[in-house]
C-alpha cells in the first residue's frame, strides 16, 4: 500500500486526471464527497491536504509520496525529502511585480516588498545584494502596491491577468514552478518497486 498526500484543489484535480490517463483507477476520488482519506483499487491510499501540510505529513513519514507545487518546496525550510519528478503540470512562475514606475524610481529608504512567500522574496533580494523590508501578506498580495503598503510584490504569476487588472506588471521573473512528486527518503528504500512503478506511470513509460 502506497500512502500519498495530494495538495487540495487544482493540483488534486490535475494529478488525479494524469493518474487516470495513465491507467489508475481514480473513480473513488472523482466521486468523493468530503472525505479526506480515500483508498483506490490500485492500492493507493490518498489524503488531501493543504500544500504545506503535504510536506509536514511526508516529513513525519505519515505518507510515502506527496504531490505539491514547487512554490511550496522552495518556500519551506524543510528539505529532507527526494524531489523526484516534474509532472509538467500547474506551470507558473515566481516574479517580482510592481507598477511600471518601479523600474526607474529611486528610493531614499529601504524598499518594501509584500509577499506570501517571504523566504523566496528574501532569497531573491539577497542574491541581488539588495537589503529590503519584507512584509507578509496571506492573500491578494497585489493589494500591497495598490494600497501603498509596499513598493513591489513577490508572487506566483500564472496568466498575469490579476496583475494587469490592477495596473501592475512583471518586473523580473524569479524561477519556474510546476507540480512535483516528492518522496519520503525512508519510504523509497522500503517501497522501491511501488514508487518507481508510479514514477514510470506518471512519465508515461508503462
Amino acid at each position: 500500500m502506497l500512502k500519498i498526500a495530494i495538495t487540495k484543489g487544482r493540483i488534486e484535480k490535475q494529478v488525479c486526471q494524469l493518474l487516470a490517463k495513465n491507467g489508475f483507477d481514480m473513480e473513488p476520488i472523482f466521486n468523493k464527497d468530503r472525505e479526506l482519506l480515500i483508498e483506490t483499487s490500485d492500492g493507493l491510499s490518498m489524503i488531501f491536504a493543504k500544500a504545506n501540510d503535504v510536506l509536514t505529513f511526508l516529513e513525519h513519514g505519515i505518507v510515502d509520496v506527496g504531490f505539491v507545487g514547487k512554490d511550496t518546496l522552495i518556500d519551506s525550510d524543510f528539505h529532507d525529502y527526494y524531489d523526484m519528478l516534474d509532472l509538467n503540470i500547474g506551470k507558473c512562475y515566481f516574479a517580482v511585480a510592481a507598477y511600471p514606475e518601479y523600474r526607474t524610481k529611486e528610493l531614499k529608504r529601504r524598499k518594501r516588498i509584500a509577499s506570501k512567500y517571504t523566504k523566496v522574496a528574501k532569497d531573491y533580494f539577497t542574491s541581488k545584494q539588495e537589503d529590503v523590508e519584507i512584509i507578509k501578506l496571506e492573500g491578494s498580495v497585489e493589494l500591497g502596491p495598490v494600497v501603498g503598503l509596499s513598493d513591489a510584490i513577490v508572487d506566483i504569476v500564472e496568466t498575469g491577468s490579476t496583475l494587469k487588472a490592477n495596473g501592475l506588471e512583471v518586473i523580473e521573473k524569479i524561477c519556474d514552478i510546476s507540480t512535483r512528486m516528492i518522496v519520503n527518503k525512508v519510504s523509497l528504500k522500503f517501497k522501491k518497486e511501488e514508487i518507481f512503478q508510479l514514477i514510470d506511470a506518471l512519465k508515461g513509460e508503462e
Binding site: 513519514g61 519528478l85 516534474d86 518522496v183 519520503n184 525512508v186 528504500k189 522500503f190
Partner: protein
Amino acid sequence: MEEFKYLIPEESIDAIMSNVSVLREIESGLRTIFTKNHYLEVLMPSFEYVDLYNDMDIGIEEEKMFQFINHEGKRVALRTDFTVPLARLYSSQNEDGEKRYCYFGKVYRKEKRHKGRSSEFFQAGIELLGKGGFEGDIECLTIIQQTIQCLKLKDIKIEISSAKFYKRLCELVDDVAFVKVLKKRDISSMEELVKRKNIQSPLKDLLLQLPQSFGDITVLNQMIDMIQDQKLKDALIELKEMYERLNMKDVFSFDLAMTPSMKYYTGIMIKGYSPYSAETIISGGRYDRLMNHFHKNVPAIGFSYDLSHILKALEKEEEANA
C-alpha cells in the same frame, strides 16, 4: 500558576523519554559489544568551542548550534556531534597509533518551531582512529552487524556507498547543480542536466540510472559494468572487494546515489533505516582527512546510532504488529 511550572520549552519536546528502560537495555547491549571489541567508553564534555566546529567545516550550520558566550567572551556550543570532539581528544593525546572510542550521550541541534521535532538526540557510537583501509571498514561493519540484534527492530536496512565514487562523479559532471539534483534524486532535472551539458554515454546512462541505483549486490555489479572512467570504477571495485570480505553480507545493501551527510567523509559511507522511522537510525563513514585539521595524518572511521529515533521506531513497530 506560573507557566514555567507546567510547560516545558519547545526544544524539549522529547526530553522525557517514555521508554527509558528499553533505552537502557539497548544501551547495555551495545556497550557489551563495544567493550568486547576493545572500544574504550568516553564521557565527552557538553560544551565545545563554536570555532572548533566551524574550523572543521563539517556541514552543521552555525544557526543549529545552541550557543553561549562564556566567561572568556568566547562562543561555546552545546555538543552538536561526537566525532569532532573525539578527533580533538585523540589529537590531544599526542600519539598516532590506533585508538578505539565509544560513547553514549545526547547531541543538541536547534530545530524549527512547531514541526514536531526534538532538539536533543540520544546517540551511541564508535570511532576507530588510526586504522585505515579495508581492515578498519570491515571492523566497523562487523560491529554494526553484531549490534543489530540489540536494537530490537525487526526490519532494518543498512546501506553502504562510497564517498570516492560520489566525489569523482562530481568532478566528471562538473556542474554546480549536480549535487542538488543527486541529493533530491530529481529524475527530471537529471535528464535536463544531461542534455544541457551534452553528456554522452556511458556517463549519461549512468547518471540517468543513478536515482534508482540502490539494492543488493546486483546493483553494484550493474553499475561497475556500466562505467568507463577508471577512477569511478576503482571506487566501486574497492567497495565490492571490501564487501566480499565481510562475513555476514546479507545485512548490507548498496545505495550508489548516497550523498555524504557529513562533509568530511572520504571513503565508505553507512546509513541505516527502519520503515518505522522517517529519519536515519544509523549513520557514519570513513573520514581520513579530518585529522589534518589537527596537523595529523591519521585515517579514521566511525558511526553512530540515533537511539531516540530507534526508540520511536520500536514503539511504532510494536503498535503495527500488535
